[in-house]
Symmetry: C2
Subunit: 333 residues, 2 copies
């Protein structure tokens, strides 16, 4: 296992300490339990957005805490759901009196623990709405999931809902925007290599020197198919076809195209993938009007990428363009 770490047991805590030291102008970090909270929280009268999940997907979610995006994130251990007490602490820390939305990626542990946390918070008088992200078209059920997995759309949803919350829109309306984004977004991923969970010390799965896995999950969960490595053109065509046909995305649609790196894939390859995706969508009459290219929802050092498409309308576009100031996404301020 080759990683820039100390004791594998300390990875999450030490990375959080690094985040805290690097971004003390934007975030506050607590360690018992782990939470990352917007510096100026709670923002009175604003709906608060809380998300969370296992660590190892950085910058998601902690890197998306700040003005215009999340109010708090709960990082679990690597690829391990955070606990209800983390979620409860985060919810309390950001409750500004207008209600709190829990943004939950569809993994069994996350769903169960966020449900418990929501019940605890409601019992104490906080209004909580939960929204589920399940955008991965690769497989119906999976190793850690009943139903589809929540992946790349989470990043887009957190940005767009964050902008709506910043406008002080009411709880139900912001939750509906979350559901609208999830309903109009689809994703598929692939891996060239496995990744290694620090505490495990060995790769999560084995992949031959000439093999790739199409439809992989962000924890290395099996996908649709293991196959011989192909040119980027063929890989993108296969993934983008699955994504585009699922909603479906049709001629005349405007979309946000998000090419995401899994952690070990450099930007030069992501731009090459974007080039293929752009050509593919042109061929379908779909217009890319907004883009995101980079490593925003990762799987430790896994090499690979995912493609997310989100059908845009004027309102979603306006919310995407709104100012955001977080460690991981920043514009307009």
């Amino acid at each position: 296992m080759k990683k820039l770490i100390n004791d594998p047991a300390d990875v999450v805590r030490e990375a959080l300490q690094g985040m805290e030291a690097a971004h003390s102008d934007l975030i506050k970090v607590t360690y018992d339990p782990y939470t990352i909270v917007r510096k100026d929280a709670p923002v009175q009268g604003k709906v608060a957005l809380v998300s969370g999940g296992g660590s190892g997907h950085e910058p998601m979610h902690g890197g998306f805490v700040g003005m215009g995006m999340l109010d708090a994130a709960c990082p679990g251990e690597v690829f391990t759901s955070p606990t209800p007490d983390q979620m409860e602490a985060a919810t309390k820390a950001v409750d500004g009196g207008a209600g709190v939305i829990h943004i939950v990626k569809n993994y069994t542990g996350d769903v169960m623990n966020f449900e418990m946390a929501a019940d605890l918070c409601r019992a104490e008088g906080t209004e909580v709405e939960s929204v589920l992200v399940d955008d991965d078209v690769a497989v119906q059920d999976s190793l850690y999931t009943a139903g589809r997995r929540g992946v790349g759309a989470t990043v887009l949803l957190e940005k767009i809902a964050g902008a709506a919350a910043e406008e002080k829109r009411p709880l139900k309306e912001v939750a509906d925007i979350c559901r609208e984004v999830n309903a109009n977004a689809r994703t598929m991923g692939m891996a060239l290599t496995s990744c290694t969970v620090p505490a495990a010390g060995k790769p999560t799965f084995e992949l031959g020197d000439d093999e790739m896995e199409i439809g992989i999950g962000i924890h290395g969960e099996p996908g649709r198919e293991r196959m011989k490595l192909k040119p980027a053109h063929d890989i993108v065509e296969q993934m983008a076809t699955a994504v585009a046909e699922d909603l479906p995305f049709s001629s005349g649609d405007n979309v946000l195209a998000f090419v995401n790196g899994m952690g070990g894939t450099p930007l030069i390859e992501l731009y090459l993938v974007f080039n293929e995706l752009n050509a593919f969508l042109k061929g379908k009459g779909v217009t890319i009007t907004r883009i995101l290219v980079g490593s925003y929802i990762t799987s430790l050092e896994m090499a690979g990428c995912s493609i997310t498409l989100l059908k845009l309308n004027d309102e979603l576009t306006k919310l995407w363009d709104a100012p955001v100031k977080t460690p991981g996404l920043r514009w307009g301020v």
Copy 2:
């Protein structure tokens, strides 16, 4: 070789096409020869900044073209110097009548070709100043270098000089700021793995499963020492000591601390490295007042990191904070 590419011969062109499609609001791309030029170039009355070098280091340099940073970049083939005709074309495209600065990383090919290009441009009446970046403390000479290599400080220099140029400061003053940044910045890098140049098809060097290379160059050039893998604490201490003692950085200094990923290292590890660097500098009485954590000057899919420290004063800090809008760095707009 596991990469998201098509024909290895087409990697640079296809990645440029992807960049152009993704960032058509910020940049223009030409293909014969390759240049990436700021969309609104030439900006009349503004000193123009041109840089360039081999591809494979993305987002550097093309990702730093835009308001508040570079006016143009010349991408060579992977790890190969761009040619004088590229540099000449870029220089002409951005010349707004106030002179052009060539920002040259200290590699023999880059230096030679930028000199030829500067001569060509001067012969045609464009005022050109060249500034050299040579911040790598690891080795005195190297495989492609007489003197120290230019590495991480390039990113900081391009941002800071870009802000000065945006204020319409005169040519000599902006060039002096470039030289001030280079004089006050030091870097050292390390690798956990090699990288593979697409056209070569095999790793640039071999590194054992339990080995790392300290002082590596951004093309996989040999560093100071190959050794057994150590904890992040020890790696950072060794690199940061070399960096801090070289200027030297002393108690009471304010610095910009830049932890850079080499392309295959995920953000969770970079934050862990930042945590170690923060503790190290605290112990020396050096205060981190500005930070950059992420993969900004990469070596394809190499796993590893570099540490750059830049001694700050009020003016450099103000220029660092100024608005920037490029594909790779953006804030304030």
